[in-house]
Amino acid sequence: MKETVYSSKLYKSPAISLQKRIFANRQMRNSRSFHSSAKPRVKREINFINFYAAGFGGGMELNMNTAQIIITIALMSIGTMATRFIPFLCFPANKKTPKYIVYLISN
């Protein structure tokens, strides 16, 4: 306990040489905790748009922002659902489907 207090005091003291500070700094950078927690957090803050676009962290640079990606996916969904729902909305089962439609689609 005493030793910790002493070392932190020493670190903060202006008397410590620049060389020692650089060394301490390097050690901190090389330490595991620095890489596992601090570094990714900084990266995520910078690339936060890409990070969210990628769901849970992504790699490649994307040409769209998150809103544009969501809109593109929504349009894919709307287009798909339109093709699935239109027949049921336009041609109720109790009415006969026009021949022309049957011809065009079946070919």
Binding site: N50, A53, A54, G55, F56, G57, G58, G59, M60, E61, L62, N63, M64, Q68, I69, I71, T72, I73, A74, L75, M76, S77, I78, G79, T80, M81, A82, T83, R84, F85, I86, P87, F88, F91, P92, A93, T97, I101, V102, Y103, L104, I105, S106, N107
Partner: protein, 229 residues
């Protein structure tokens, strides 16, 4: 009763589970390589739920934002679903609350089962159709998620993996070719894009070729109808 319907539906969906294993994992994996994580992959599979369209979507999502093209292309690629819908009008009649889900999940594979299979005796047909649809939905979402997770651990050269889509369309084309005796409609579908490709170029030929196909079909309707008879 529900469990009975589920048990009846499950065996029919086993081949789909196996088929989706490759397609779904490859899709999830490709999403990962394009920079999309698990969240976005699962979200896309849940809301879009259309295999071939999602593969095309890979290109759309990495290109520049173009909503009109996205919507048009989706409608063109999934136009075959209109045909599925018309074929299922009677079968899905009277399915009550489940009807919207049945229509939502009417993908190629679900259509192929529900269209051709008669539910076993004593099984409610709506519940049978519902479980086929639900199981296929679960398979697709799960396999694409699995592929994306796998992408975190394995890295290999994915060059050429997106050829899966082209291969899928070739298989669909061959199936349709085999089903019919006369191939004039298929040939129109084959020749029109080639003509448009030469005129409009690789980036812009899809929509003109679709329009050309429809025009040719309308113009030569009587002749094609005679052939079919």
């Amino acid at each position: 009763m529900k469990l009975k319907s589920l048990k009846a539906a499950f065996p029919y969906t086993i081949p789909i589970m196996a088929g989706y294993m490759f397609l779904g994992i490859a899709y999830g994996f490709l999403m990962k390589t394009k920079g999309f994580g698990l969240g976005m992959t699962v979200f896309t599979s849940i809301v879009v739920f259309a295999g071939s369209m999602q593969y095309v979507g890979l290109t759309l999502l990495t290109a520049a934002f173009n909503p009109v093209y996205t919507l048009f292309l989706t409608l063109m690629i999934n136009a075959r679903h209109l045909f599925y819908g018309i074929s299922m009008l009677k079968k899905y009649q009277g399915s009550g609350k489940l009807k919207n889900f049945l229509i939502f999940g009417l993908v190629d594979e679900t259509f192929s089962i529900n269209c051709s299979t008669q539910p076993p005796a004593g099984i409610d047909k709506t519940k049978f159709y519902f479980f086929v649809t639900l199981l296929n939905y679960i398979y697709w979402v799960s396999w694409s998620a699995a592929g994306n997770i796998l992408g975190n651990f394995i890295t290999f050269n994915t060059k050429g993996l997106d050829f899966v889509l082209t291969a899928l369309f070739v298989v669909i084309f061959i199936n349709q070719w085999k089903e019919r005796k006369k191939h004039s409609a298929a040939l129109i579908g084959l020749i029109s894009p080639i003509i448009c490709l030469l005129i409009f170029g690789q980036d812009r030929f899809i929509i003109p070729s679709m329009l050309l196909i429809i025009t040719v079909l309308i113009v030569f309707r009587s002749r094609i109808d005679k052939e079919a008879e």
